[in-house]
Subunit: 313 residues, 2 copies
């Protein structure tokens, strides 16, 4: 019995095996997604993003409990763009969400960038498809909300929850362009800490500003105050996620097209980037251009024009 | 008298005007760099990177003082990848280094990503060329050390100083892949705080590990403990930067080629990305592919193949 049949029969070990293939970019993983893709499009995909230390894992833990109570199966993908060196040395296994190995209704997997440039967004998209095809109703994609790539990853989800904690000072400032603008829900975690009120008000202001500046953006993004460790404020948050989810599912085509466009764009950019990297390493014309630029015999811009001409010839 | 002549005559207002052109990608800025590039290659370019709150600006302030004492002219480029919304709302002007408007030997400029995807690396390269041509001996490029883009920006510098503070918990972990591996000097700021010793030891371990794993990497990267606000430990750090700088200048071709390759690669990737974005917005084939993927009539990978085929036709 093949892996895909075993997946369809609900075998957790088959899912785990396929997830590893997908994570590693193994041809078997690619083939699995090619065959499973037509069965996807049922799950609600939620991005949870926020700076390190904001309590994303604890929040996700609380959300899983809430969804399990409501009979939903939950998949979690933790996307880790941090250094393999530091990650390996200090974090060990990246997932800090409580393991639920006895519950087949929960599946978790972390994906590291492993030093690769790019490529995480398409791999994450494939992992979402796998969990979707495996029948998970809610798929959470956890990212740290910094870095260029997280924007691409947010564009793979139906909605984005942005988590912040009071007193982190540079918290709001440290977010990359696009993360604030993209949030559908703002959550202030550790709401009993001093500064929570202030942060909530700041986020409300940003939500109002964003909805004015970008009518297509997160108009009406609401701010929730929770204490994830104490499980306080979780029910209203889950209700809001579900409310947005119902809106998404009423008009799934709009979101499906946006997400398909993002995945296509990530795939195409990745391929072209790989091809440029390969060319940059092997194309003698590029070596000559590099040497000329380094010796100030031509300018970077003229050299780029030359190389682009030779690439498209 | 033209701007370039006034720049050559040392007029600060001409430099400021040209910097604004370069920052905005104005054709006048591009033309200026085309004409000035042959006069570049003299400055030592130092990347200073670290998480928000690590004290980068204070450190740079102390470095400027030390270099000014040694008769060096110093340019500072603060690269700010944060959200224009949060940046505008909470940070005001990004540069926090003390202004020295009375000293023509110091020039500072911050560059924001302004919500653009990519493009910051080539613009930063141009700004480096401008300050180089304007006769600055040391050019500091400040980045937050998170995000895909900072890796590219590090590759535009001769050496990278990685700044960390004790007690930030996720400090080391939150760095993107490649940042740790790329550091030539590790600095522990706020060295009088508890945990400084531990962090310094952790960084020493990472430096040792890196030099083992990647012989071409930061072999022998040293760890310095400073207190930037108290100006403690700055002299040994500047000495180390200068020592590495002398090594760089003894064999400038190697670094010039590496930097030229990085700038060329960034320019080419940018152009191709812009062309993909344009195509994605206007190419009817892409719209058809997106719709087919969204409706699950084809897979993302098959659609990407199709689109790539049509792009290269």
């Amino acid at each position: 019995m093949g892996l895909l049949d075993r997946l369809a029969a609900g075998e957790v070990s088959a899912l785990a095996r396929l997830a590893t293939y997908v994570e590693n970019g193994d041809p078997l993983g690619i083939e699995a997604i090619e065959r499973l893709y037509s069965q996807t499009g049922r799950a609600l995909v939620i991005g949870i993003t926020g700076p390190p230390g904001a309590g994303k894992s604890t929040l996700i833990d609380a959300l899983i409990d809430a969804w399990r109570t409501r009979g939903k199966r939950v998949g979690v993908i933790a996307v880790d763009p941090t250094s393999p060196l530091s990650g390996g040395a200090t974090l060990g296994d990246r997932i800090r969400v409580r393991e639920r190995s006895d519950d087949p209704g929960v599946f978790m997997r972390s994906m590291a960038s492993r030093g690769r440039k790019g490529g995480l967004a398409p791999a994450t998209a494939s992992m979402i498809h796998l969990l979707d095809a495996a029948g998970f109703d809610r798929i959470v994609v956890e990212t740290v909300g910094v870095g260029q790539e997280e924007i691409d990853i947010s564009s793979l989800t139906h909605l984005t929850v942005l988590l912040q904690i009071p007193g982190s000072g540079d918290g709001v400032q440290a977010l990359k362009a696009g993360v604030l603008e993209m949030a559908d829900i703002f959550v202030v975690n550790k709401a009993d800490l001093p500064g929570a009120e202030l942060l909530a008000r700041e986020l409300s202001g940003i939500a109002a500003l964003t909805s004015t500046l970008q009518p297509a953006g997160n108009a009406g993004a609401r701010v929730f105050r929770v204490s994830a460790t104490k499980c306080e404020g979780i029910v209203p948050l889950v209700d809001e996620i579900e409310r947005i989810g119902e809106r998404v599912m009423r008009d799934p085509a709009e979101h499906a097209e946006r997400i398909a466009r993002a995945e296509l764009s990530a795939l195409i950019t990745d391929r072209i980037r790989a091809s440029i990297r390969e060319q940059t390493a092997t194309n003698p014309e590029i070596d000559r251009a590099v040497a000329a630029v380094a010796r100030r015999r031509t300018t970077p811009r003229k050299a780029a024009d030359l190389v682009l001409g030779s690439l498209t010839r």
